[in-house]
C-alpha cells in the first residue's frame, strides 16, 4: 500500500515536472498581441532616444570603458553600413514593433528584422551559432509574456561615438510584455544583463499603442565615411 502510494506520488511529481517542458496552452492574450505597436505621440514629453544613455551610461565596467576607448565608429557603425543590429538594441529607441502569432512561435518584427520567440520551450539545435538576434524563448507568467533571450554575439546596443557594448556568452535580455485591460496599450519592461560590461542590469520601460498604420520596407543605403 505504501509502495503504491509512493509510486503514485512519484508519477504525479514526474508528470508535473515533464509537463513544464511541454508548451504552455497558448493564451488568448497571445493572439491579442498580434498587431503593429507604436510609441504614443510625444506631445512635448521627453524623447526616448537617450533614455538608454540614462539607464546605462553610469553603469559601465572598466572593460566597457576600454571597449569605448578602442571604438572606431567608422569601422563599426552598423547603421551606416546597413548591418543587422543586436535584438537588444531595439528597445533603446522606442521604435515600432510588430507581433505575428503562430502559437508555437511568436514572430517579433523590429528594425526590419524578424526575431523568432519559441513558445514551446525548445532549446537551440546543435547547429545553432550565437548571433545578433540571439535565441529567444517565451512563456506566460500570469498575464505577462516573458521573453528570455541568450546566445548573443558581441555587439553594441547603441553606436555613435559613445557605444554601449553588449553581448557574449553571459549576456541576457528579459522582456516582459503586459497588455492593458482594453488590449490597446502594451507595456514593456526590458532588463539587459551583461556582467562583463555593466555593474548592474540595465532596466527600461516602454509603452506602445496598437496601430493600424501601414508600414513598409525602406532600403538601407550604406554611407561612406
Amino acid at each position: 500500500m505504501i509502495f503504491k502510494r509512493f509510486v503514485i506520488l512519484l508519477l504525479t511529481f514526474l508528470l508535473g515536472t515533464v509537463g513544464s517542458v511541454f508548451a504552455q496552452e497558448p493564451r488568448q492574450l497571445q493572439a491579442a498581441l498580434e498587431s503593429l505597436w507604436e510609441p504614443p505621440p510625444r506631445n512635448g514629453r521627453a524623447s526616448s532616444e537617450n533614455m538608454l544613455d540614462i539607464a546605462a551610461d553610469a553603469l559601465l565596467t572598466a572593460e566597457a570603458e576600454d571597449f569605448r576607448r578602442r571604438w572606431a565608429i567608422e569601422e563599426n557603425d552598423n547603421t551606416a553600413t546597413c548591418q543587422r543590429r543586436s535584438a537588444a538594441a531595439h528597445f533603446g529607441f522606442g521604435y515600432t514593433l510588430e507581433f505575428l502569432d503562430t502559437q508555437e512561435i511568436l514572430y517579433l518584427v523590429g528594425f526590419e528584422q524578424v526575431r523568432r520567440v519559441y513558445m514551446d520551450g525548445r532549446d537551440p539545435p546543435n547547429n545553432f551559432w550565437p548571433n545578433k538576434l540571439g535565441w529567444s524563448k517565451g512563456h506566460w507568467d500570469g498575464n505577462t509574456l516573458v521573453v528570455r533571450t541568450n546566445d548573443f554575439t558581441q555587439g553594441t546596443i547603441d553606436t555613435g561615438n559613445r557605444p554601449l557594448p553588449f553581448g557574449g556568452p553571459d549576456a541576457e535580455m528579459i522582456e516582459r510584455y503586459t497588455l492593458s485591460d482594453d488590449l490597446n496599450t502594451l507595456s514593456l519592461h526590458v532588463t539587459r544583463i551583461d556582467a562583463k560590461y555593466y555593474i548592474a542590469p540595465i532596466e527600461m520601460h516602454h509603452t506602445f499603442i496598437r496601430s493600424n498604420r501601414t508600414i513598409f520596407a525602406i532600403d538601407c543605403v550604406p554611407s561612406i565615411y
Binding site: 515536472t17 513544464s20 517542458v21 512635448g44 521627453a46 524623447s47 526616448s48 532616444e49 537617450n50 533614455m51 544613455d53 540614462i54 551610461d57 553610469a58 559601465l60 565596467t61 572598466a62 566597457a64 570603458e65 576600454d66 512563456h139 555613435g160 561615438n161 559613445r162 553571459d170 541576457e172 544583463i193 556582467a195 555593474i199 548592474a200
Partner: protein
C-alpha cells in the same frame, strides 16, 4: 524548471557583479592622488575648440522645450549667483578636490559638491532638488565615475545663448582619468537630458595640477 534556472542564473550574476550596494568597493589608491588643485590646461584662456564644439552640438540638439527655455530666459531674473554642477561642462573652471575617504568634496564656481563613494546610495527623504544635485561615485579600473542626478532645472550656460539642463530625469556622468605622472587630469562629462536635448551632450576638458587656483567667491543662493 525555469524558476530553478532563473534562481541559479541570478546567483551567478550577483556573484559576478563588480560592485553593488551590498558589496561596497574597496578604497582605490588613486583617490587620494586626485586630491589637489586643478586648472584648465589652456594657456590662451580663450574658448577652446572643444568648448565651441560642445555648445554647437548642444544648440543643434535642442528640443522644443529647450527653445522655449531660451526664449523666456532672462539671466538677470535669477538673482542667485550660484552656477549649477553641470556648468562645468560649458566652462572648464578651476576646481579643487578634497578626499575624505567615504566622500569627495569637489569645489568649483564658489560651491562645494559632496560626492559619496557608495555608488548605490540614495538621497535621504529630506533631500530637495538643487543645482548641485545628488552625486555618487565608483571606480571603473583607474577611472573615477561620478553620477549626478536630482537636479533642479537651471542653465549650464548663461548669457545671450543659454543652455538649459536639469529636472527630474536629467543625469550627468563625469569620468576623471589621471595621467601616468598624476599631474594631468582629463574630465569627460556626459550630460543626458531627454527633456531638452535629442541626444546626450559630451565634452572633454583637460586640467593640470596647480599650486593655487582662482577661487570664485562663495556664491549667494537666492
Amino acid at each position: 524548471m525555469i524558476s530553478k534556472w532563473s534562481l541559479l542564473s541570478s546567483l551567478v550574476f550577483l556573484v559576478n557583479w563588480e560592485s553593488s550596494s551590498v558589496f561596497a568597493q574597496e578604497p582605490h589608491p588613486l583617490q587620494s592622488v586626485l586630491q589637489g588643485l586643478w586648472v584648465e590646461d589652456n594657456i590662451s584662456g580663450t574658448e577652446t575648440l572643444e568648448q565651441r564644439r560642445f555648445i554647437s552640438v548642444a544648440e543643434s540638439n535642442l528640443r522644443d522645450p529647450g527653445e522655449v527655455f531660451r526664449a523666456s530666459y532672462q539671466a538677470n531674473a535669477d538673482t542667485s549667483s550660484c552656477l549649477m554642477a553641470g556648468a562645468l561642462a560649458g566652462e572648464a573652471a578651476d576646481f579643487e578636490i578634497v578626499d575624505q575617504g567615504e566622500t569627495i568634496d569637489l569645489s568649483a564656481f564658489g560651491r562645494t559638491r559632496r560626492v559619496y563613494m557608495d555608488f548605490w546610495l540614495e538621497p535621504p527623504q529630506t533631500f530637495e532638488l538643487n543645482g548641485l544635485g545628488w552625486s555618487t561615485a565608483r571606480w571603473a579600473g583607474d577611472m573615477l565615475v561620478i553620477r549626478t542626478t536630482h537636479f533642479l532645472e537651471g542653465a549650464i550656460k548663461s548669457g545671450e545663448r543659454p543652455l538649459p539642463f536639469g529636472g527630474p530625469i536629467a543625469q550627468m556622468v563625469e569620468r576623471y582619468t589621471l595621467s601616468e605622472d598624476h599631474n594631468h587630469l582629463t574630465v569627460d562629462i556626459n550630460l543626458i537630458d531627454p527633456e531638452y536635448y535629442t541626444f546626450s551632450l559630451n565634452v572633454l576638458h583637460s586640467y593640470v595640477r596647480a599650486d593655487d587656483i582662482d577661487r570664485d567667491t562663495t556664491c549667494v543662493l537666492n
